[in-house]
Amino acid sequence: MFRKPPEAAGAVTVQVAGRAVKVPAGCSAAAAAMIAGLSSTRTSPVNGEPRAAYCMMGVCFECLLVIDGEASQQGCMVPVREGMRIERQEGPRTL
């Protein structure tokens, strides 16, 4: 369903759920989670259901991730950087 854009050049290495993954430079953290094979990236704070990126354009808020320790980041709106730590977000965040 999703394909990498052909112009993607270069690669960075990020940590997805504790595992080093090589992803195209300039892709989003949510895309990196997909490349890493995570089928869900968070659980709903309301009913605990597993959820994952849906719209990939900043609208649906389904792709919330913990990025470099900061929770509730819209994964699809955050471009990857070398060494970025991307974690699942389980339930509601704590301040």
Partner: protein, 375 residues
């Protein structure tokens, strides 16, 4: 011409939380009820409110309102159970007590004085001031800002999900066989032998009795009944955060955390007529105050903001009155529809079934705004 909406015992004009609660109580008492409502273009205060079931700040200048509010808070637990049993909807009512935070020593003293003034009016008033240390014990997961000196605490205060309250009321009406017609705003009324003939956008409705509970839509129709219904518009804005792990366990005036974990921040008051838009200036002020109380909220993302128009009388207290010119026609005008839903579905509905308002409701008559009498 026949009457497309038929006949009923009571026509309730207004399908918000006030009209629907009264209608539910009427339907529970075996009355055939039709709720005439407006469509989505109506102002609809019932869809924008904060969700407090609130006792501690009510009734200054009118002890009857304090007692009426307290009565509703006392009825709320059984009311929530009744809604659940009737509709399956859990309206998320919780009664952990409620707070008004005090900032600084002066703020604490000011709040204490407000409380003493209310206590001087009626013995049942039992809100207390609590110091910061007690507040911290009450909510161990909250780190309060340095300015927080304490709060007033009322054990009867609570909160509910206001949208689920409205949903449950509408589902309850359907379950009891009452008709809710959102396509039938009332354009005019005629007075006929034995009752009223309502001309609605969906046709004519005959009713033995009429209850006007249409918020800002009440004014014109109340005039036809010879009842002054002075209603003031006041805008309130609300900010909502993303869902957070539960940590604010007690609702407060202006800050509460919902069952789903969102934190609602509110309680602005502006005179903007019927303009219900939001502004950055007011949202910023509300957020700044919330951060003085709970600084950690600075890390929370805001996801939504909205404005709504309160339904207020000149003295902010409710009006309940029967038309002297057309007995059987009543008005109910009030803010705090969620707080008062339980007493509306019980005492107010019972009064309308009996055809006369009881002593506990007498002080709410709109004649108190009659300047000549007051002079």
């Amino acid at each position: 011409m026949t009457a497309p909406l038929g006949a009923c015992d009571v026509a309730v004009v207004g399908g918000g939380v006030v009209g629907s609660a009264i209608a539910l109580g009427l339907a529970e008492r075996g009355q055939r009820v039709v709720v005439c409502d407006e469509g989505d273009r109506a102002l609809r205060a019932a869809r924008v409110n904060f969700g407090l079931v609130w006792v501690q700040s009510k009734g200054h200048g009118l002890p009857a309102y304090m007692r009426w509010t307290r009565r509703s808070a006392d009825l709320w637990p059984a009311f929530a159970e009744r809604l659940k049993a009737l509709t399956g909807v859990d309206v998320e009512y919780r009664k952990p007590g409620g707070l008004v935070y005090a900032l600084g020593e002066a703020g604490f003293e000011e709040q204490r004085q407000r409380m003493l003034a209310l206590k001087a009016q009626a013995d049942i008033y039992d809100t207390q001031m609590i110091e910061r240390a007690a507040l911290e014990r009450l909510m161990p997961d909250v780190r309060f800002g340095p300015e927080v000196t304490g709060a007033s605490y009322c054990p009867h205060d609570g909160h509910a999900n206001p949208l689920l309250v409205l949903r449950a009321l509408h589902a309850g009406l359907a379950a009891l066989g009452a008709r809710h017609r959102p396509d039938a705003p009332v354009q005019s009324m005629e007075f006929v032998a034995g009752g009223f003939r309502l001309h609605t956008a969906a046709g004519i409705l005959e009713a033995r009795r009429v209850v006007l509970a249409a918020g800002h839509g009440t004014t014109g129709l109340a005039g036809q009944l010879g009842l002054p219904a002075p209603i003031r518009a006041e805008r309130g804005q609300i900010l909502v955060t993303e869902r957070l792990r539960r940590f604010i366990t007690l609702p407060a005036s202006g800050i509460r955390q919902t069952e789903d974990g969102t934190v609602m921040i509110g309680s602005s008051k502006e005179n903007t007529g019927f303009d219900d838009r939001t502004t950055v200036a007011v949202g910023g002020r509300m957020a700044a105050r919330a951060l003085r109380i709970i600084p950690e909220l600075a890390n929370a993302r805001l996801t939504r903001t909205w404005g709504g128009i309160r339904v207020l009388t000149p003295d902010n207290h409710p009006v309940y009155a029967e038309s002297p010119r057309h007995p059987g026609a009543f008005v109910a005008i009030c803010h705090s529809g969620v707080t008062l839903a339980a007493v509306h579905a019980n005492d107010a509905a019972q009064a309308i079934v009996e055809g006369r308002l009881p002593a506990s409701m007498e002080d709410f008559h709109s004649r108190r705004f009659d300047v000549q009498k007051a002079a």
